[in-house]
Symmetry: C2
Subunit: 197 residues, 2 copies
């Protein structure tokens, strides 16, 4: 049958089998403008629309968000992998990443947060809440405004034939999607026994 190992999880010993994840780049305009890629990110609520980014306690971005209480969440194409890796393997406490890596950005329209120019999707978020969980802080953003590139989207989903999302696999490995693998199952019947969908 399958060849599985059962492994006790020793705290702090890292593994990354739960990846890939779509990389979110968190932008803050605090004492300086700063961007940090965040592998641990997820939607959290539709109404209100809440989006979460989990940030290491020791990260500069953690302090910047605590200070500013507004931030952007940005998503970029796969061809940006070198830039994003550099933004991740440097510290906003030590260098000015925007100058050092020549990062282009614009200003948020309703919130004071930096919008990554190369992003195909950006949210302007106000801080809804924060939750300390182990060695990270989950910042919950209430997204107020969305910047989205019209060229890369279908009605409500990303058109992966037009853009290649930047996925992170762990240990500085990046990859993207295979658009030819796409399966659209939306016209299959549901399995609810009541009229509820």
């Amino acid at each position: 049958m399958t060849n599985k190992s059962v492994i006790e999880l020793v705290p702090g010993r890292k593994h990354f089998f739960y990846y890939p994840t779509n990389v979110a780049i968190v932008g803050v305009s605090a004492s300086k403008v700063n961007f940090m890629p965040c592998a641990w990110n997820t939607g959290l609520s539709y109404d209100p629309f809440l989006y979460g980014v989990s940030i290491g306690i020791e990260r500069a971005t953690r302090g910047f968000i605590d200070e500013k209480k507004e931030f952007s969440v940005n998503f970029v194409d796969f061809h940006q992998h070198h830039l994003i890796r550099s933004l991740g393997r440097s510290s906003g406490l030590e260098i000015n990443k925007v100058k050092h890596f020549d990062v282009k950005y614009t200003h948020g329209e309703i919130l004071d947060c930096p919008i990554l120019e190369c992003a195909y999707l950006s949210y302007e978020c106000s801080l809804h809440s924060r939750v300390v969980l182990g060695d990270h802080v989950l910042y919950v953003g209430e997204a107020k405004l969305m910047h989205v590139n019209n060229d890369i989207r279908d009605e409500t989903i990303v058109d992966t034939s037009k853009t290649a999302p930047l996925l992170y696999l762990g240990v500085d490995h990046y990859l993207t999607t295979d658009p030819s693998s796409l399966k659209n199952l939306k016209d299959l019947p549901f399995h609810y026994t009541s009229s509820k969908k």
Copy 2:
């Protein structure tokens, strides 16, 4: 330049441009054994190793975890997309999904949670905490034990030439990764100015 739209986020109006996401299948052995695919999932802490799954308030799984306080988090290959879509478009309040869809599972080794047999990765989690966020509840699991298929992994990351992670793109669309796109940037220099890595 880029052709971006700026869109106000109307609460409750759904869009899915932040996808793709690696689908986590949440298993609970409560009054019945139940599995639910969860698109909104993420790592939350290394020490302790915490993993989060965000579950709609009205979902059967929410009540099952509240009752049981233990659950599994499972990841499967892309070829399981039909099964996973069926598990998502049905309700454990109405049917017995395990019987209805002939789902094979084993029992957790140290916790009473169901391990999906077809999963290449499963965590046995005890409930660390729960956070109500808008119309969802974030369940934070402390992973105690990992079941991982030896055939599909490198030392600490998934070998995408051996398995194709099941990614969700929204509106019942599924796709997977392109293993030929993989970029390994781990040997590039870091950009820290101090000795800190």
